[in-house]
Amino acid sequence: MSTVAQTSVAAKGGDGEEGKKPPRILRGLPWLVWRQHRVAYVACLLLTAAGCVQMLWQRGSTNDFLDRARTTAGVELYDVFQQTYAEPFQNATWMMSMVPVVAGVFLGAPLIAGDREHGTVQLVTTQSVTRGRWLAVKLGMAVLITIVCSAALSAAFTSWWEPAHELVNAGDWNADNIFGNTGPVPVALALLHLAVGAALGLFVRRTLTVMGLALGFSFVWDIVLSGWFRAGFPEPRVLVNPVEQGQPKLPEGAVRHDNWTVDAHGGLHGFGTCFNERTPADCRAKGIVAERLEYFGYDQMPGMQWTYAALVLAAAVALLALTLWWGRRRPL
């Protein structure tokens, strides 16, 4: 037994003389990819850690505040909360909205474009590894870092926001700054931006140009594309009141989607049709018999988020697969 152990040590070819060097944890391509991008990866991990610590600390403070406020009757909770926590939440949502941008511009864009620009793609692909394996490891490690960072940040932010969800952003969780920054959504968005940045590197050789294009994509995404992904799929719930009872009251934690007025035949009319009338009888005179409220309940939020995240994730995975296939098929 001992002889076998000894030969295996000897066969490693003088590893013994590396006594004071750090142990060889990563091997092969993962080592190379980590070594090449370690500054960016370590920076991402450190920023993530700092962000998480900050948000978890804020969470403790917010929870203390809410506990005290809820036991103290007569306090106008909403106003005090806004004074104290509106700004931290605003900063945090801004930081969270930067997560996909960072993934696209600083992790994704230089991933392939950088090696093509500096010619190191030729160095690596003329060693004994195929281009496909190299790209797979590169994309895989970037995906891993992106998932770890975005998932940790999202978990910290969600756990901070959740107890105060009725207060933050006036309870509107369907707005982009909450919906897109909590739960699974940041992870999916970050992966999509990463995939776009990496894929652009297949076609544009200059890293700076690719970073600019990746930044441009994040604007286009926010303004145009994200709306397409969110359009259509959620079914709002409906409350209808006779016109005498006025507007239906929004359930706790829910988000208003739309208001309608209804005539005797069930036809829908704009909210304004019966807005300036003083009494319900005036509305009835115009044919309006009921008020209709469409809303999303708070319990619908996870379903909506996971559906949206799944769609975005599918796009990201498709793009990553396409990148890998394209990069394998032809020299870079």
Partner: protein
């Protein structure tokens, strides 16, 4: 064409090989082979297709037409990866890696990595293992790149202009290192070069390209022996009849003085001074005369091309 032990005699074998970039053919209908164990120079003017040919052999460029075999296996086959080292012209390395990390890259990515060889090449240049690649001079970087290339223990080493950006001293040193290591490991070397002197001193085989086609290919000695330099006095216009019987690569008349580079078929008759040309004269002669018929020696010809090429010294 494999020998008894199953290994191919030919390190590189191209048949009808072509590469088109847009409308321009960088390499066209190229059929040539380079025997295993050769140190082969790849020469030709800028844009002749040297880098494209090396790129195709090094799997960085995909051929448009034809086939390319390395040691008998198609170049696109995965097992060929370990057999070939390719040093591109700009010798890309990661500038933020240290020399040691660069060698570790070789070790991590190559199953046949020979650490002793790589470290010997680096150490003989008195390079510190802890130095960053970005801080090294051009010659030192070339040395590290060569260490990486030889440490892979390739059977075929492809070098694109290895000496281009080196000062004469560094070029001499790297050239010596290259030949010594290639001889010791039995590596086949194919190197492109602008410098005829490099090719003349280092190479025993030669492939000359122009306009994406082969002009000359084969052993340097055989190629040289196939040509003569003819000089003499000639009074009329044009090539004299007794010279025109042979294959005239290039001819020139300055006043009454007539000079020609000739591939003789039999004896040259008449009152001519006959001299053996140097490699540079032969190469320049072919580059200046695009119409001269190409010459491939028996060693460089593929079977398909053998029937077409019936003339030449090898016959």
């Amino acid at each position: 064409m494999t020998s008894a032990d199953g290994a191919s005699r030919w390190a590189v074998e191209a048949r009808g090989l072509g590469k088109r970039y847009g409308r321009r053919w960088a390499v066209r209908d190229l059929s040539v082979r380079i025997p295993a164990g050769a140190v082969c120079g790849l020469v030709g003017p800028n844009g002749a297709g040297k880098s494209t040919l090396l790129g195709m052999a090094g799997r960085l460029v995909r051929p448009t037409t034809g086939s390319l075999h390395v040691f008998g296996a198609p170049v696109s086959a995965a097992p060929g990866l370990t057999d070939i080292s390719f040093l591109t012209q700009d010798k890309p390395l990661f500038p933020r890696f240290t020399v040691e990390e660069t060698l570790r890259l070789g070790r991590e990515l190559n199953p046949r990595w020979d650490r002793a060889v790589a470290e010997r090449i680096v150490r003989s240049g008195k390079l510190s293992m802890a130095a960053r690649i970005g801080s090294l001079s051009g010659g030192q970087r070339s040395r590290v790149a060569l260490a990486l290339a030889f440490g892979k223990r390739p059977r075929l080493l492809l070098l694109d202009e290895p000496m281009a950006d080196l000062d004469p001293l560094a070029a001499h040193e790297i050239g010596g290192l290259l030949l010594a290591e290639a001889a010791e490991q039995g590596t086949t070397v194919v190197m492109s070069s602008h410098r005829m002197a490099d090719v003349a001193t280092m190479c025993d085989h030669l492939v000359a390209l122009d306009g994406g086609r082969v002009r000359l290919a084969g052993e340097v000695d055989t190629l040289l022996a196939a040509h003569v330099l003819v000089t003499g006095v000639h009074l009329t216009e044009g090539v004299p009849a007794e010279i025109a019987r042979h294959t005239v690569v290039e001819s020139r008349a300055v006043g009454r003085q007539f000079t020609a580079l000739v591939r003789p078929r039999g004896r040259i008759e008449g009152d001519w001074k006959i001299a053996e040309p140097g490699l540079e004269e032969v190469l320049l002669g072919y580059m200046r005369s695009p119409a001269a018929p190409p010459l491939l020696t028996a060693a460089a010809r593929t079977e398909s091309a053998e029937n077409e090429e019936d003339e030449g010294a090898a016959a």
